[in-house]
Amino acid sequence: MIGLISGGAYIPLWRLSRGAIADGMRGEKAIAGADEDSITMAVAAALDCLDGTDRQEVDGLFFATTTSPYKEKLGATIVATAADLRRDIITADFSNSLRAGTIALRAAIDAVKSGSVKQVIVVAADCRQGAPGSNWELSCGDGAVAFLIGDSEEVIAEVDASYSVSDEMMDVWRSEDDRFIRSGEGRFIATEGYARVCGEAVTGLMKRFNLSMRDFTKAMFGVPEPRTQAGLAKSLGVDPKTQLQDSMYFHVGDTGTACSLMLLQAALECAKKGDRFLLVSYGNGSDAMSVKVTGRIENRHKNRGIKGHLETKKTIDYYRTYIKWRGLLPIERPPRPLGLVAAPALWRELEQNIRLYGVKCKSCGTVQYPPQKVCTKCYAKDQFEKIRFSDKRGRLFTYSIDYITWAPEIPSITAIVNFEGGGRIQCLMSEVQVEELKIDMPVEMSFRKMDFREGIHLYSWKSIPVREEFL
């Protein structure tokens, strides 16, 4: 059967209370940290999805976002390299639309169905920015989701019906130099956008495949703003009490192109065999899909998913922190000598920086990071096997807290981490408060932004406290 083999997600640790943006606003939204973006969140979601699977079996990666850090450069290759996938895979970015996530999902299913590839991972992530003072600033939240699509007996859900509508309309957009989301008037989009177009897609799906709203256990809309969603649900005959999937608007916010897929993942985490979900996205058209849950759902790999990320969080009540992290506050940083970025060196060190490969000496077994040509212990030359550290756990051996550095967040923590199974790394540490630092505390590795220089986003790995410590 062709369908979803596994799913994963990522929601940043940080939540900004909406009251910090504007008095009286309810709930909170998830916000990416200063060292996160759509690419880093996509990597986290992809790893969550691939946890428990053989990464060598993945034949493709589709990356969907409206907020790629690059206007020209594949994000999919960065995500695929960080996820340590093979080189002989298909990669593509699906961008420019809130509908990109479901477009990528449909394309992945079609690719597998055609026999072109056996397994594709679809990763959707968004980090959308509304202008300060706008409704978008209130509603947008950050998050990512990933589904592994393939032909397998282990498929937990299949997309057994799909209907797409393409609609040309200036609903929500940004042009070449726009930093913030532009959109038409709210009532106009709600009526002639969401209601009309989603309605058309859902109606079309029902008619072509002989389905009715009664056939669906849950309906999920990539339009989480409560009033708009309520209106849409009502017009389509969705019972808001029993059938409407919680949009997480008051806990996460509108995660753009990742939204509908994140709701699908949330639904799958509580699903039973035979459940049928109606998945609806919106953006220059609408994709409506019927997702049927199989008996394999009971055996699905228990990863963090939506639930694990929802229930581990830290709330920020300080608006200034948020706009500083988003780069909207031109803070003067201490002058720092900038080494020129050397493209050949970046390329040469991809394995150690992006795949986080170290080596194990075949002669004496000593694990070393970064990769060496000569063994530190037994001096054997060129006798190493590669070891991936990105999914290893470790313990904090020692640390330093730097109060005078140039880094965007002060203090900056540098950690010495000893990995389970041997090996050690020196790296920055993120998401930890000074008071929480303790020798031997458990840590994991997370893909993060290190710096932005000469138009290049430099990525690598930092250590963070194991997420479950925040329960």
Partner: protein, 394 residues
């Protein structure tokens, strides 16, 4: 292998004032330091036959030195080893005259660190990372890593540990008040140290040496020629150098409680000099107090304190100016600041003057054998240097 012991003598030295010398460029500092050395040795610049020039930021080739001093077409080698540059320049000059390829050689170190607004963060993370994706880890971070494990290992809470370190900085500041060429010349108290802003936890403002500009120089000849220049020449007893291979990070069992490079360099220097009991046989020492925790560790690593007894010695005043083994008698890096390549030669200058009885108010009685120590780079990849000097052969 042969030893350098008693084969080379220093016949002249010079040292500028160290500090924020905005109005002095590298040439000004080189001329000030070297001309003092020429005068001290009673020679002229044209008598120099070869030179070694150490600098991290103030010159990439030997021509910086020859341009400043107008040395006419002699061989000059630029040396770089972070904080060990000065001693490496000196050692190379000494090996050259000992081998006989030249008779009179000059070693000079200079830095204009205050020309740049950033501090130790200017250092690239060597030797591992050429793509520079991983941010620089200034040496302060690595010493903080050590301090945290060190306090933990000895069961000191933060206040207790900082108090021990504070006494070292207080001691050095006191010595600095007798040191006219030092940048900082004022007393501080333990309370000043404890209340000071945190730089890199647990190291505060007074646990860290500052950056400054400065230069120092030495003129060396073979020992059998030295008496032609002066009676109170100072003999080189030994050099011990040791370069780390990144073991601290590559090996997950490194404990962050000791610095092997320091121990190796010291063993080599003591071995060559024939020193068996450093505590008794070394009369004064200038050691690399870039951070107070380093000086504390060095007391044990250089064999001045028995293992585990450094704290006792600190509290007993063993290393104070009037103590059994005065350390950093001129105020150290703490009071002079640290123009990297100049520091080793500044420490040698202090040793040289002390051994000649010319240290004025900071003179240590019966100073016969002096030790200089530097270490440059990052823990696990340090270049440690130990050099021992004496007035008498044997």
């Amino acid at each position: 292998m042969e030893s350098i012991k008693d084969r080379v003598a220093i016949i002249g030295m010079g040292c500028t004032k160290f500090g924020e010398l905005w109005d002095k460029g590298p040439y000004d500092l080189i001329v000030d330091a070297c001309y003092e050395a020429f005068e001290d040795a009673g020679i002229k610049p044209k008598d120099i036959q070869a030179a070694w020039f150490a600098s991290l930021v103030s010159g990439s080739t030997g021509s910086r030195l020859s341009n400043a001093l107008k040395l006419e077409y002699i061989p000059i080698t630029r040396v770089e080893n972070f904080c060990s540059g000065g001693l490496h320049a000196l050692a190379n000059a000494c090996y050259a005259v000992a081998s006989g390829v030249c008779d009179i050689a000059l070693a000079c170190g200079v830095e204009k660190l205050k020309d740049r607004t950033t501090g130790f963060a200017m250092m690239n993370p060597e030797p591992m990372d050429s793509s520079k994706v991983i941010p620089e880890t200034p040496p302060a971070n690595m010493f903080a890593h050590i301090a945290i494990r060190y306090f933990n290992d000895r069961g000191w809470d933060i206040e207790e540990g900082k108090r021990i370190l504070a006494q070292i900085s207080v001691k050095s500041h006191h010595n600095g008040t007798f040191s006219p060429k030092a940048h900082l010349q004022r007393e501080i108290t333990v309370e000043d140290v404890l209340k000071a802003p945190m730089i890199i936890y647990p190291l505060g403002l007074y646990d860290c040496c500052g950056l400054s500009d400065g230069s120092a120089a030495a003129i060396v000849v073979r020992a059998d020629m030295a008496k032609d220049f002066r009676d109170d020449y100072v003999l080189v007893k030994s050099f011990g150098f040791s370069s780390g291979a990144g073991q601290a990070i590559l090996q997950d069992d490194y404990d962050f409680l000791h610095i092997q490079e320091n121990i190796e360099a010291a063993n080599r220097a003591y071995g060559q000099a024939g020193i068996k009991n450093p505590r008794k046989e070394i009369n004064i020492a200038q050691v690399h107090d870039c951070f107070s925790i380093h000086e504390l560790m060095l007391y044990e690593e250089l064999g001045f304190s028995a293992k585990g007894k450094a704290r006792e010695d600190v509290e007993a005043g063993t290393f104070a100016l009037g103590g059994e083994l005065p350390v950093n008698t001129d105020g150290g890096l703490k009071c002079f600041g640290h123009p990297l390549s100049a520091s080793g030669l500044r420490m040698t200058y202090e040793t040289y003057k002390q051994l000649q009885g010319k240290a004025g108010p900071r003179q240590v009685k019966n100073a016969k054998t002096g030790l200089v120590h530097n270490a440059g780079g990052m823990v696990g990849s340090l270049n440690a240097s130990v050099s021992i000097f004496g007035r008498e052969a044997g």
